[in-house]
């Protein structure tokens, strides 16, 4: 078990280093100049001399040869320092970390709702004896995936904020401002969870062990929720990594539509302005989240499945 953990931790570090390096190559070595983006950001009609541009570039450490820049930046990144944002002048790490809590709040609530929506639809759809209801519930996930997040958000705002006036359309003040964005995020995410869970529930229901459990006298509910769900949960759990990506991508859209601060907004703004320190901080943070979630999922497997537990014990 210890070796398993060590190996997984080693892999995690490797992934983070790769994320840093690949983002460095893409952001710093490919053409495009963040300082020029800032200076050209407002059309001020001011003609800049080459010397003025060079001075500004030097201030952001963009004038060193690339191996020196790479070394300096990697060393600083190990201390959590990705440099200062070219657009705001704030530390990139600070910007991303202050934007993180509002994003996590929406993503967390969105994930809970997604599990309730998706899991509920999958369980009810496979459990019901009414064929029409099962068909209806199982057709929800494809529908959920095909709805554009942007559009869903605007429709929800139109109904609940502009027409009924029960929820705020903008900002991140108070729990009520979480509801609409979380529902918006939960729809596509819940659809994915529902799709995967429904499929593995059906697969499990067709397994021979279900007959054995039934033969021993277990009722339908006991079979469905006690045995089948437990086995069917593993593929759905694996989807968590993918779902986390979905939540992050969705946050870019929901934060724009609902005028919320968050990692999504910081990311879009940084990409538009070619604010490389911030973009790099976001990439490494995203990689970190994936690594942690996948590590957590891997550690959960043995708890759910005794076969995995035995394998891990022998590693």
């Amino acid at each position: 078990m210890r070796r398993y953990l060590l190996r997984r931790a080693g892999q995690a570090v490797l992934v983070l280093w790769a994320a840093f390096t690949v983002s460095f190559v893409i952001l710093y070595l490919l053409p495009g100049d963040a300082v020029l983006a800032k200076l050209g950001g407002a059309d001020t009609g001011t003609a800049l001399t080459a010397e003025q541009v060079a001075r500004a570039q030097a201030e952001y450490g963009l004038d060193d040869p690339w191996p020196v820049q790479y070394g300096k930046r990697l060393l600083a990144a190990l201390h959590g320092d990705f440099g200062k944002s070219i657009t705001t002048g704030d530390s990139a790490t600070h910007m991303v970390l202050t934007a993180l809590p509002p994003t996590l709040a929406v993503a967390g609530l969105g994930l809970v709702l997604a599990i309730l929506f998706g899991g509920g639809a999958a369980l009810a759809g496979t459990y019901t004896r009414h064929r029409w209801l099962g068909t209806l519930l199982q057709s929800l996930p494809p529908l959920g995936i095909s709805l554009p997040v942007f559009w869903v958000g605007l429709v929800l705002i139109q109904i609940f904020s502009f027409q009924l006036r029960v929820l705020p359309a903008l900002g991140n003040h108070g729990p009520e401002s979480l509801i609409l964005p979380a529902i918006t995020l939960a729809l596509p995410t819940g659809a994915i969870i529902g799709q995967v869970l429904a499929k593995s529930l059906r697969t499990q229901l067709a397994e021979p062990y279900v007959e054995i459990v039934r033969a021993r006298g277990a009722g339908r509910a006991r079979v469905h929720f006690g045995h089948v769900l437990r086995n069917a949960a593993i593929p759905a759990l694996t989807m968590l990594g993918v779902v986390a990506g979905q939540l992050l991508a969705g946050s870019v859209v929901t934060e724009t539509v609902f005028s919320r601060d968050g990692v999504g907004r910081v990311t879009t703004a940084a990409v538009n302005a070619q604010d490389v320190p911030v973009v790099q901080a976001v990439i490494v943070l995203a990689a970190f989240c994936f690594v942690v979630i996948n590590l957590a999922v891997d550690l959960l497997y043995p708890l759910l499945d005794p076969r995995v537990r035995r394998e891990v014990a022998h590693v």
Binding site: G32, G40, A42, G45, A56, G89, S161, L170, D261
Partner: protein
């Protein structure tokens, strides 16, 4: 064939909308005074300001906040461009506009209690100069800054190494707004976030949450307002809450449903929703260089004078405004917007004249080919326009111009780029046409972009007639003496097709029924000192 029904209705609708907007930009039915103090204005802005320090930033989003926090030495009358007293009671300049002496009013203080005196003004100007390329606008205004001298506690002299007539107008902008000496104890980055952003303005900085909101509150005891303002003493509003709302539909819906009091950046398609029904619109064209196709005369077909003049005639400006924008936007009548001091009306030269354009091209030997695009000696009549999507409607405007120019046999190729690339392309001179506008309430902005000693976006040769008039207008602050060279500069630019003016960028702010007197200063940025609310 008779015109189709929509073609008959459209001009009527446009006329009706014009009337409606004409009514709404003045006093409205709900504008029942007298103004009363108190209350909060919640106003939506479309983009995050990134940096709030007005000395460092050039975006509307930031300047609309910064204007309320800092005072300037002078103010500029939006009605006629005249420079009026503010922190300075009076001023004088020497004959060649290289030295300006300001006499400050006594009693003004910064929000930290320190006095607005000559030493503070000197610290502030030196501070702007030290920012270098970080002070996007100040860099141009203080290009020839030699230094400031404290003559006595309330008298300060600013010296330049070259004639800088534009400086008097620049002294009225928030970009040269005066910050407290303590502000320069903070780093420029800290000031960007509001830390140390201490001005002497009618409002003080309270908080800035990136991508969410900016809050400013009333300065108690404020008593040194600009001579142009409607009332003296403190501002009416207790608090202004700027909400950053990137999605235009959400800005519109939030205002209509009463969640905010006002919104900037109303999209042309949404404008009609705020006409009548208790809502109102305030609009003002931005002064400075209008949106234009700036020609590089050293490349391809644009080296031919006839081609550039044909382009001037081949753009139907009224159609651009009628179909892509709204009646609040004006077709360009010069390279300078109508709200710029010393603007010359050249609408006759800018009239849509496709036949005249065709004649010019025929005479120059450009022959229509099989696809309708002209050619001469195997060279196609084409040019690429480089642009960044800063203004939402730019893409649609350029697509329409593309169709209009096709009718005279010219192939306009659209080339969108991110901001950073546009500046790079400009620096290495690899463009045929540039699409941009610049906001500045002084005609000297022409020198920045057309003089061979400055931006020279047309890539003209030194010693040309345009250079001479641009230099002449820079040498005097006397509007009467500047009028002739400024008029001549506009005429030369249009007559030679150095740039093809298209339309005037316009600020459109929509107000809820309770919000009154949201004003624009001379550069069309928000001035909220006289703003008041009749809501609870």
């Amino acid at each position: 064939m008779s015109p189709s029904l929509p073609a008959k209705i459209l001009p009527l609708a446009a006329a009706a909308a014009l009337l409606a907007s004409g009514c709404s930009s003045g006093a409205t039915a709900t504008d029942a005074g007298p103004p009363r103090p108190g209350g909060t204005l919640t106003i939506a802005v479309g983009s995050n300001p990134d940096c709030l320090d007005p000395q460092q930033t050039g975006t509307n989003a930031a300047l609309n906040v910064g204007r309320q926090l800092v005072d300037s030495l002078t103010d500029q009358d939006p009605a006629n461009g005249e420079i009026k007293p503010w922190l300075a009671e009076r001023w004088e300049s020497n004959a060649d506009s290289t030295s300006f002496t300001f006499h400050l009013r006594p009693g003004a203080t910064f929000a930290d209690g320190t006095p607005v005196d000559a030493a503070a003004v000197k610290t502030s100007f030196d501070g702007v100069k030290a920012l270098g390329a970080k002070a996007l606008l100040g860099l141009g205004y203080l290009a020839a800054y030699r230094g400031a001298t404290v003559v006595d506690p309330l008298t300060v002299r600013i010296d330049f190494t070259a004639p800088s007539a534009q400086f008097l107008q620049a002294s009225s902008t928030m970009s040269l707004g005066i910050l407290a000496p303590a502000a320069y104890g903070k780093t420029p980055e800290q000031r960007c976030q509001g830390d140390g952003l201490i001005g002497s303005g009618p409002f003080v900085f309270d908080s800035f949450k990136q991508n969410a909101d900016i809050v400013i509150t009333k300065r108690k005891g404020y008593a040194w307002g600009s001579s142009l303002w409607r009332h003296q003493g403190e501002a009416y509003l207790d608090r202004i809450d700027y909400k950053i709302v990137p999605e235009p539909g959400v800005r519109t819906g939030s205002l209509l449903s009463g969640q905010i009091g006002a919104t900037t950046e109303v999209q042309p398609v949404d404008e009609t929703q705020f006409q009548g029904n208790g809502f109102s619109e305030q609009t003002r064209p931005n002064p400075g260089i209008v949106f234009n196709l700036h020609a590089n005369v050293t490349r391809g077909a644009l080296t031919d004078d006839n081609v550039r003049q044909a382009l001037v005639k081949g753009v139907n400006r009224q159609e651009v405004v009628d179909t892509v924008l709204s009646p609040n936007y004006k077709p360009a009548t010069s390279i300078l917007a109508s709200t710029t001091p010393l603007h010359a009306d050249l609408s006759a030269q800018l009239a849509y004249d496709p036949a005249g354009a065709a004649r010019l091209l025929d005479a120059a030997g450009w022959v229509p080919g099989a696809d309708g695009i002209r050619a001469r000696n195997g060279q196609r009549l084409t040019a690429k326009v480089v642009y960044a999507l800063v203004f939402n409607q730019s893409q649609s405007v350029l697509e329409l111009i593309q169709q209009q120019l096709r009718r005279i046999g010219f192939d306009l190729v659209l080339e969108p780029h991110p901001n950073a690339e546009v500046l790079q392309i400009q620096q290495v001179n690899s463009y045929d046409l540039l699409w941009y506008n610049v906001t500045r309430a002084d005609p000297d902005i022409l020198r920045n972009n057309f003089s061979t000693k400055a931006g020279n976006r047309s890539r003209l040769l030194p010693g040309n007639p345009l250079d001479a008039v641009l230099d002449a207008q820079a040498a005097t602050v006397d509007p009467a003496a500047r009028k002739q060279p400024v008029t001549e500069a506009q005429r030369l630019i249009v007559a030679n097709g150095y740039a093809i003016p298209v339309f005037e960028l316009t600020q459109v702010v929509a107000l809820g029924p309770d919000v009154h007197a949201v004003n624009f200063e001379a550069s069309s940025r928000l001035q909220l000192f006289d703003t008041w609310t009749s809501g609870s």
